[in-house]
């Protein structure tokens, strides 16, 4: 009897280890973990892949000089390395990198995959599908399209605040929660949208800023115009994100700028919070500054009227007054209502503009209204025959906005401004 049990235990242990295998066991430091992956158009029809990974030279890069002088690396930035290689496909390129990198390159911890706009406008569906099947890619990594080259973008990607590159990327991506000037897009969202029949994929839109204030022609009036790389700013890191790239299946067809993206997020009900300045009606040179955030989830009604698809969208927002530059006491109730109407029409214009842009210019259902419309069809075949994505430009979309000013910041009432005589000094 004991022999039988022993044999059984041995058999199960051996077969379990043979079948399930401890073959994919690998030591943590036998791999390098690419946290940025960039894809550009290479020469001779090849693809140019750039990866960036943190080195193991110790926190703060104390002895990074020794590691950086080796010939494995192309360029050492703080404690990370950037490598570029050309190959027919992404995964093959990653494989080929190991001809020069002494540790296996792993995509387990990739934070973002960056495509150059030039490449994205051709077609990236094949790469996305390839990554989807690969067991190391995380569904939570972001998809970014950059104006210019992905390689330059990655080279400009430095962590200037702390030593950790991965943390700087993770936190940069979450800034969407506070600014709402770019969306949060994960690989899985992109992939499902890419293969779906009721929405179009979107990606983050990035760029490289050359910090040139003189030649920057960006106009910020009317809340239009910011595209990545053209934010008038100067800083350490040249890479920046703003707005979003719009795709039709795997091909980029256009973009929404930062303010249009904010309107997009409002419609999607994903607008967490963001500052906004609205011109004061009484004083053309003065602004009222608001913090706007979501109050209710967006309500979408999709139905057919006279044989035409109609979508009613109700966006729920609330606002908090942060600054009134003039001395008009907008906290008074009747003035608050007026102000509310003003912001409402301002934001509704923005929302309408964005919807119109998606219908007429991009012809892409980036909002996923199709998901609601699909409920009007009994079978998937009927729905697919309807061909929502091609119908989308002609759909009647009626946006409306519920907006309330709920708070006035930390002050209840504006104070009287004291007029100072000329020549008075503090």
């Amino acid at each position: 009897m004991p022999e039988k049990i022993l044999a059984l235990v041995l058999m199960s242990v051996i077969s379990a280890s043979l079948l399930a295998g401890c073959f994919d066991a690998r030591e943590i430091d036998d791999e390098v973990y690419a946290i940025s992956v960039g894809v550009d158009k290479g020469s001779e029809g090849r693809l140019r892949l750039t990866i960036q990974y943190p080195t193991y030279t110790g926190p703060g890069g104390a002895d990074s000089a020794g590691g950086a002088s080796g010939n494995e690396n192309k360029k050492a930035q703080s404690n990370s390395l950037v490598h570029t290689i050309e190959a027919p496909t992404m995964l093959e390129a990653i494989d080929m990198l190991n001809t020069s990198i002494s540790r296996r390159v792993s995509l387990m911890h990739a934070k973002w995959v960056i495509f150059s706009e030039e490449y994205a406008r051709e077609d990236i569906a094949g790469h996305i599908a390839g990554l989807e099947r690969y067991n190391e890619t995380r569904p939570s990594m972001s998809i970014v399209v950059v104006r210019g080259s992905a390689e330059e973008f990655i080279e400009a990607n430095e962590s200037s605040i702390g030593g950790s590159l991965s943390k700087s990327i993770e936190l940069l991506l979450t800034q969407s929660k506070f600014t709402s000037l770019f969306p949060m897009v994960e690989f899985m969202d992109f992939h499902t949208a890419m293969i779906s029949s009721y929405k179009c994929p979107i990606a983050l839109y990035g760029g490289i800023n050359d910090f040139d204030f003189e030649n920057n022609t960006t106009k910020l009036d009317g809340r239009k115009g910011i595209i990545p790389g053209e934010t008038p700013r100067s800083s350490v890191s040249k890479r920046e994100l703003s707005g979003m790239a719009v795709f039709h299946t795997g091909r980029m067809i256009g973009y929404l700028d930062a303010y249009e993206t904010a309107a997009y997020l409002m419609i999607k009900g994903k607008y967490r919070s963001g500052m906004m300045s609205v011109p004061d009606k009484s004083f053309s040179d003065k602004n009222i500054i608001f913090d706007v955030h979501k109050s209710r989830p967006t309500k979408i009604k999709a139905y057919f009227k006279d044989g035409k698809p109609v979508i009613d969208v109700t966006v729920g927002l609330e606002a908090e007054i942060y600054a009134i530059q003039s001395d008009v006491k907008y906290e008074k109730l009747e003035l608050t209502y007026e102000l509310e109407d003003q912001i409402k029409s301002f934001l509704l214009d923005s929302i309408k503009h964005t919807i119109k842009k998606s219908q007429k210019e991009l012809e892409a259902d980036i909002f996923g209204f199709g998901e609601n419309m699909a409920g009007n069809f009994f079978t998937i075949e009927e729905w697919e025959a309807f061909n929502w994505l091609s119908q989308y430009p002609d759909v009647i979309i009626n946006p409306s906005l519920n907006l309330k000013i709920r708070r006035t910041g930390t002050i209840f009432q504006s104070y009287e401004k004291i007029d100072r005589k000329e020549g008075d000094k503090d």
Binding site: A16, E27, I28, Y33, G58, H109
Partner: protein
Amino acid sequence: MGKKASSKSIFSWLIYKDPSTSANNADGAAYSGGGGKTGRDSGSGGKTGRDKADSAKANHVNKAGYSSGETTKQSKYKKTKAYHQLGKNLSYIENAFNHPDNKDIVIRRLCIGDGVNAFIFYLDGMSDRNTINQSILRPLLDKSKYNDLGGKNLFDYIYDSVIETHQIEKADTHEKAINDVLTGNTALCIDGYPNYILCETKGFDKRNVDKPQVEGVVKGPQEAYNENLRTNITLVRRILKNKELTTEFFKLGERNNEQIAVLYLKDLANPSLVAEVKRRIRGLVTDLIMSDGVLEHFIEDNPNSIFPTIISTERPDRTVAHLTDGKVAILADGSPFALIVPVTVFDFLNTPEDTTLRWQFGTFLRFVRLFAVFVASLLPGLYVALTTFHREMIPTDLLIAIAQAKENVPFPTLAEVILMELSFELIREAGIRIPGIIGNTIGIIGALILGQAAVQADLVSPVLIIIVAFTGLGNFAIPDFNLAFSMRIMRMIYIFSGAFLGFFGISLALIIMLTFGVSQESFGVPLFSQLAPTTRKSSDLLVRLPIWKQELRPDYADPLDERRQPEISRKWILSNRYRSNKTGGNQK
């Protein structure tokens, strides 16, 4: 018989299952005293559980006192009746104790009354000389005492009226006298009478009652057992002032005649449980029972189990808490621990402090301990599995930090973990053995050499030092030493299964361990009962409800009286309500 069905199922655990497979049991059958039915006997036949219990109860004989008739029969020593002739008795005793080569035995010849020869014998050092002088020798040798025997023969007269010790007994065999003398008593033999008079003269050095060494608490009693059986029983009795508290004695071990005491509350403990405990003890034949630990090996259900199934406690208050749940405590002379049966795995995780503290605090402590069990058993295994198989689960920054720390370490993770675990076990083992006077050295060796220097020399990564230290902390937080020990061994199993098969392997090992665990029994009670099999909902399992809500005793021990207290034990609440109602009424 409304609850016949349920009691039957519970009793079916309590009755020993398969007598034919147990060696102990075979001995038990061979050596069980005539008359008293053993648990095994009562298990046969088609009686219901409750009937069996009753029959066991009826046959249960309680004899308090040291020289109960229930001493274990010994295979080597045949019992020989004492002789009428003093000379023959004397030579038998001298022969038995190897006198005069053996200098410990003192044989004192006397001439009492009208020149009747007699002798007393005792073990030097085990007996109290003052008592022998004052209460035995002086009255025996006082001629005036023998003027009037009052019609009795000399033996009975001396038994009744001369000897002044507080306990006295007759023995008609040499062996009984010898065994009694071995415990420190004095035996008297008078010429012409085939009996010995056994006088209580125990008096040997013993340790004082001290603070608990292993089961310390912040709040609660600070008394622990010592090596003296009598003292230990007294400690229990002092807390549990109850006439139903019954102590039965057994002698075990052919060479050392170890005294074993079985304690239980007669009106509470299930008779078939008591019978089972006694049956297992009676059925033991061995030459040396050194301590309760040895006894534990002899009476536990499954000696091959990695899980302990008997609680060993050094605290009288904990013993009493279990006794009042209807369980049985077993104490062995010379060992400062009590064994408690039956127990479940949750009993191992509880300490007396849980009850002393307010219920919120006690419950919190229990969750901390549960976490400790998790850490102590699984943490290194999970670390190995995570770093070798599931690197995608580690947050990127931590992953990079671990990789940076490991960069210069030449060993694979598994070797590193094993190395550190072994050195930790070495520190533990050396810490126990190191002479107290140089005890500080272990701290220096452990902390400096193994911790700091090993990291600086790139032998292990600092993350692993943290893991091992954390695991060690978890292990020490487990209140029961035996359970902590089984966690130490299980940890190794999880490390290897994690190294070979990752989380899948750990899950496999966990399932095997749990399956094994739930199949274990403690005196017939499943080790995980209350959880598997589910019994009545407990108010003291993991979340300890307020003490006044714990109205029923644990189900698994099946005590004779299930109710601990009435549904409303805080009667003053009623009187408060009554009072407020009354005053409210007056105001109206």
